[in-house]
């Protein structure tokens, strides 16, 4: 019986090839998107899921209020772990993980050669608590021997492979590794090799060294560094909130002691919080450089997209099935007359849906690969399209059944309502309310609402990105190339002062307009400190000020305007400031002129203001322009800002010459340059990814909607063949018929626009809110989105409308 059904179903699907293809294609897109997003979401939620004690592990993080802004740091003061161990109970383990990096790592090979590894990161100082909290498999060596020797090191399998390629763990033991830090050099012996933790994990340390017990001075309690992390594993009975309170109390106590002791009036508020390990991967509010994080809102957004696109695909299926019922009426009538009951008819239709979805699931394999390729920027590393075939099959089967029910039940029920007698009487199956607003139209409107929300969002995001990248930054970034002296040479005595010799050499090159040393106006790294200005008899005004080290050509090179006073003078040591307009206002000076000659700075380190420049953007458009001060100190200048001649044809040649000069002073491989306007685009990488995602969703949603619309247009044209015939015989023109058939869709899209606009406006307004500098949402953006949707919809339906309109009415009116 089932076999019979299956054969009929396949025959039926084959007969309706066009619709089967459209349906399969639409559903396959929906399924592929769901799978890709499922992979991403499940990956992000799988962080450290393998740890047995994961519910009990918490991180200690530091909260601050700076300049009335709340900020979090992922680290905790170094001595805090000692304080906790001494004063607190209720904890299974207190686990400090103090990471650092080295500019160079050297390994002497027995054969004589030396291997170099530059800029090595993820080297952690730990004590025995670490291995108690996290279980590592020891491939060589023992924990005991590791902690016995303070200058030993344990490598993970991955790192061991990097340092000693082709060696077994046992062969590595007792080998020596030399670490060159920024100012220190340490020699260590390998005491063990451990297997890597199951991925993905936030414990990414690759080398472990014993943490030496130190007695810290009091001031260290007030320092926080993001690389000094602290984990706590709580007792079964401990209450996280209570533990957090106790940890915070220790810090507040120590801060108070320090305040009483020192005379520093630097104001800041700091507190400690506990972050459950399960939340750690999603803690985007905590600043951390090294660890990849996922934002929960983004994941929810992705799930939303998956859900909507899947719904769109289902809606398509429902729409086409409903529209197809009149064509199948005869078949259904015959089946009913011959004794088919409701359950059988529903079963038959559901089977048809199931087969279609299943075929869609199979064809989605190709689409999934395509999506992974399209989204390679966005999909985190470590996710592949398919790892477990069983998981994929289960996913497809489960989704197929879900879709079959979602998309198949309603049309199936409708089928059972077909009245057999009416079918044979040849009366029309279109019900009397066909002029009104039926389900099919509602669904089409729903599809277009989603498509329009995407179109509008894509438009607005694109516009804001364009605005962020191209609008006036307050300085001239044209033709500027940035070259940075690598960080590792900055602290290397061998390279001390070499940048200035290089500068002199570069200045002789033709094709360069001017060169300045200093931190670029807008750069990712920045430093800010609290400056104060005190007037006689007034309380001091304290403001957070961005400081930029620059030289004397800087202001001219970037085309900044002096609003008052003069440029900085050449100087080896700091002695004066040039500030921006915002700083003038922040310190309460009446005018740029008024600011000149006033002393500002950190306590005991105040210098006069000698000039004021116009405001310019120092950060991306999320942040408003802050108070800023330029200062000159030669030893802090490591960045070249090179302005090239306007003649672009010469640029490549000039760059090659710069590189040549570079080699005379620095190692060859360390040269890298970037055009400033390109590096500003880099700031908005996340937004560009969002734009890619929204653009792709737009295309997919439009595409699916059009599939549905096309199917509907074909069926409508079929249903209305008779009507079109009559109208033509009565004298309707081809244009008239096309207009008649298209008018309905125009109305539907217009209605969708009315519904979609406020939704899109709401979300985009929220998104734009985060930008300090943003575009206005204008009515014409919605109009353009509407017109685009309309044009696409009309293109989709017009071929069918025209085909119907030019058909010979004699054929359609031939008496039945």
């Amino acid at each position: 019986m089932v076999k019979k059904y299956l054969i009929t179903t396949l025959r039926h699907l084959q007969k309706k090839r066009l619709f089967t293809t459209l349906n399969i294609f639409g559903l396959a897109i929906g399924i592929s998107v769901c799978w890709v997003i499922y992979r991403i979401v499940s990956y992000e939620y799988s962080y450290d899921q393998n740890l047995a004690n994961k519910e009990k592990i918490h991180r200690v993080i530091s909260g601050y209020i700076f300049d009335e802004k709340e900020d979090y740091n992922g680290g905790a003061s170094k001595p805090l772990y000692q304080g906790i161990r001494e004063q607190m109970g209720g904890l299974e383990h207190v686990v400090p993980v103090f990471e650092r990096s080295f500019r160079n790592v050297e390994i002497k090979n027995p054969s004589g050669g030396i291997s170099h590894f530059e800029e090595q990161r993820n080297i952690a100082a730990i004590d025995s608590a670490y291995f108690k909290m996290l279980h590592y498999d020891w491939l060589a060596g023992t924990e005991a021997s590791f902690f016995e020797n303070p200058s030993s090191v344990v490598l993970t399998e991955n790192r061991a492979k990097q340092y000693f390629p082709g060696k077994n763990p046992d062969e590595i033991l007792e080998r020596t590794i030399i670490y060159y830090g920024y100012g220190d050099t340490i020699s260590r012996t390998v005491a063990g090799v451990v297997a890597n933790l199951p991925q993905p994990t936030e414990f990414i340390s690759q080398e472990f060294v014993p943490l030496i017990h130190t007695t810290y001075e009091l001031y260290v309690w007030t320092n926080t560094n993001g690389s000094d992390r602290l984990y706590l594993q709580l007792d079964e009975s401990s209450e996280p909130a209570l533990i957090a309170k106790q940890v915070d109390d220790i810090i507040q106590q120590k801060t108070k002691e320090w305040r009483d002791q020192s005379e520093n009036s630097f104001e800041f508020k700091r507190w400690m919080e506990l972050l459950p390990l399960s939340e750690s991967h999603f803690s985007t509010h905590v600043r951390e450089g090294d660890i990849r994080k996922a934002s929960k809102p983004v994941l929810y957004g992705l799930m939303g997209i998956a859900l909507f696109l899947l719904l769109l695909a289902c809606v398509n299926y429902i729409n086409m099935s409903i529209a197809g019922i009149p064509q199948r009426a005869k078949e259904i009538g015959v089946r009913k007359t011959l004794g088919g009951n409701k359950a059988q008819l529903i079963g038959q239709f559901l089977l048809e849906t199931l087969v279609t979805t299943f075929l869609a699931g199979i064809s989605s394999i190709v689409l999934i690969k395509l999506l992974f390729w399209l989204l390679h920027d966005i999909i985190p590393e470590g996710i592949s399209p398919f790892t477990n075939i069983l998981e994929f099959s289960l996913f497809i089967v489960a989704l197929s059944v879900l879709i079959a029910l979602l998309a198949g039940l309603y049309p199936a029920w409708l089928i059972t309502r077909v009245n057999a007698i009416n079918v044979f009487r040849n009366t029309s199956l279109r019900t009397k309310n066909s002029k009104g607003f039926n389900l099919q139209k509602t669904l089409i409107v729903f599809q277009f609402v989603i498509a329009l929300v995407f179109i509008t969002s894509a438009l607005i995001i694109g516009k804001q990105l364009h605005y962020s990248i191209t609008s006036d930054m307050g300085f001239n970034k044209e033709a500027v190339v940035l070259v940075q002296v690598p960080y590792k040479y900055v602290f290397d005595d061998n390279y001390d002062g070499k940048q200035f010799s290089l500068l002199q050499e570069l200045e002789t090159l033709p094709g360069i307009q001017s060169i300045s040393m200093g931190v670029a106006p807008l750069s990712e790294g920045y430093s800010s400190s609290q400056y104060e200005y005190s007037e006689e008899g007034q309380p001091p005004i304290k403001r957070q000020v961005f400081k930029k080290w620059v030289d004397t050509t800087y202001i001219h090179l970037y085309g900044l305007k002096m609003l008052a006073g003069r440029n900085l003078h050449e100087s080896d040591t700091p002695k004066e400031y040039v500030i921006n307009e915002t700083a003038v206002k922040a310190f309460g000076f009446d005018s740029p002129q008024d600011a000149l000659g006033k002393y500002i700075g950190q306590t005991g380190e105040k210098f006069p203001i000698v000039g004021v420049v116009n405001d310019f953007h120092m950060q991306d458009f999320y942040s408003s322009i802050d108070p800023m001060a330029f200062q000159m100190e030669k030893e802090n200048l490591h960045n070249f800002n090179i302005k090239l001649d306007a003649n672009t044809a010469q640029w490549q040649h000039t760059l090659a010459q710069i590189e040549e000069k570079w080699y005379q002073f620095y190692p060859a491989e360390s040269f890298s340059y970037s055009f400033y306007d390109e590096s500003i685009e880099q700031l908005y990488q996340q937004e560009m990814q969002l734009a890619t995602l929204v653009n792709l969703s737009t295309i997919i949603s439009i595409f699916i909607s059009c599939l549905g619309l096309f199917g509907l247009a074909v069926l409508t044209a079929f249903q209305r063949t008779k009507e079109i015939g009559i109208r033509k015989v009565m004298g309707a023109s081809v244009e008239g018929i096309v207009r008649l058939l298209s008018k309905e869709y125009v109305l539907l899209v217009t209605l969708a626009l009315v519904i979609a606009s406020p939704i899109a406006w709401f979300f985009m307004d929220k998104w734009l809110e985060k930008f300090a500098y943003r575009i206005q949402i204008e009515w014409w953006m919605f109009l353009i989105a509407g017109l685009a949707a309309l044009a696409i919809a009309l293109l989709t339906v017009s071929s069918q409308a025209i085909k119907a309109a030019i058909a010979n009415p004699v054929k359609s009116l031939r008496s039945e």
Binding site: K432, S434, E723, V729, G731, S733
Partner: protein, 220 residues
């Protein structure tokens, strides 16, 4: 003379063979005639009617309608010609299901670009003449077959055509309803409208002034 067909041939090619639907048809129709076309199924009655109505093309021969040579006209002119002078009545009425009686009558007038006020007047006139004022707001499905065909005839007549083409107008009606429609045709013919009908029924054919018999696409 209203129209003239000279040596009209129409054929289809099927499997290398040429099958003639119409073979050497010669026909002259004067204004005011009432012609019945008869013949067995498949003899080409409807095809001939469609050719006369300019809904269908032919492969050979000449067709003159009111001194215009139809075979040389472009599609658009041809459409204008039949829009203006010809009205159609169908066996299965072909009223639009989702339009009321009144709207069905109005439809051809819209296509002929009559003004709204004129349309109203003409529709009212027709409703009155056919005694269906009371039914003007009903949908076709709410009418009996005879009434539907009455509306069909009214719709064909509303733009005052010179020629009415009726393809088995009584085919779906019972004898009494059929008789009423034929009486109506007779009356219209007396008023000067030229009518060409296709029919199977000897009795209905009697209403006409001339009978044309077709067999295998040929006039006999």
């Amino acid at each position: 003379m209203l129209l003239q067909l000279n040596n009209i041939f129409k054929w289809v090619n099927s499997g290398g063979q040429r099958i003639f639907l119409l073979k050497d048809i010669n026909l002259e129709v004067e204004e005011g005639e009432f012609i019945s076309i008869m013949g067995p199924s498949g003899s080409g009655k409807s095809t001939l009617l469609n050719v006369i109505g300019m809904l269908d093309s032919f492969d050979e021969g000449e067709y003159n309608f009111l001194d215009e040579s139809v075979h040389t006209l472009k599609e658009k002119h041809r459409a204008n010609l039949y829009k203006e002078y010809i009205g159609f009545v169908f066996q299965s009425y072909h009223l639009l299901d989702e339009l009321t009686v009144q709207e069905n009558l109005e439809m051809p007038l819209i296509y002929k670009k009559f003004k709204s006020s004129e349309r109203k007047a003409m529709v009212a006139d027709m409703l009155d003449r056919f005694n269906i004022v009371g039914k003007k707001d009903l949908f076709p499905a709410q009418l009996s077959g005879g009434q539907q065909q009455l509306v069909g005839v009214a719709r064909a007549l509303i733009s005052k055509p010179k020629l009415i083409l009726a393809d088995e107008p009584t085919g779906n009606l019972n004898s009494k309803q059929g008789e009423e429609i034929m009486e109506l045709f007779k009356q219209l013919n007396d008023e000067g409208v030229t009518i060409i009908q296709v029919t199977h029924s000897e009795k209905n054919a009697e209403y006409g002034s001339r009978i044309i018999n077709l067999l295998d696409g040929r006039m006999i």
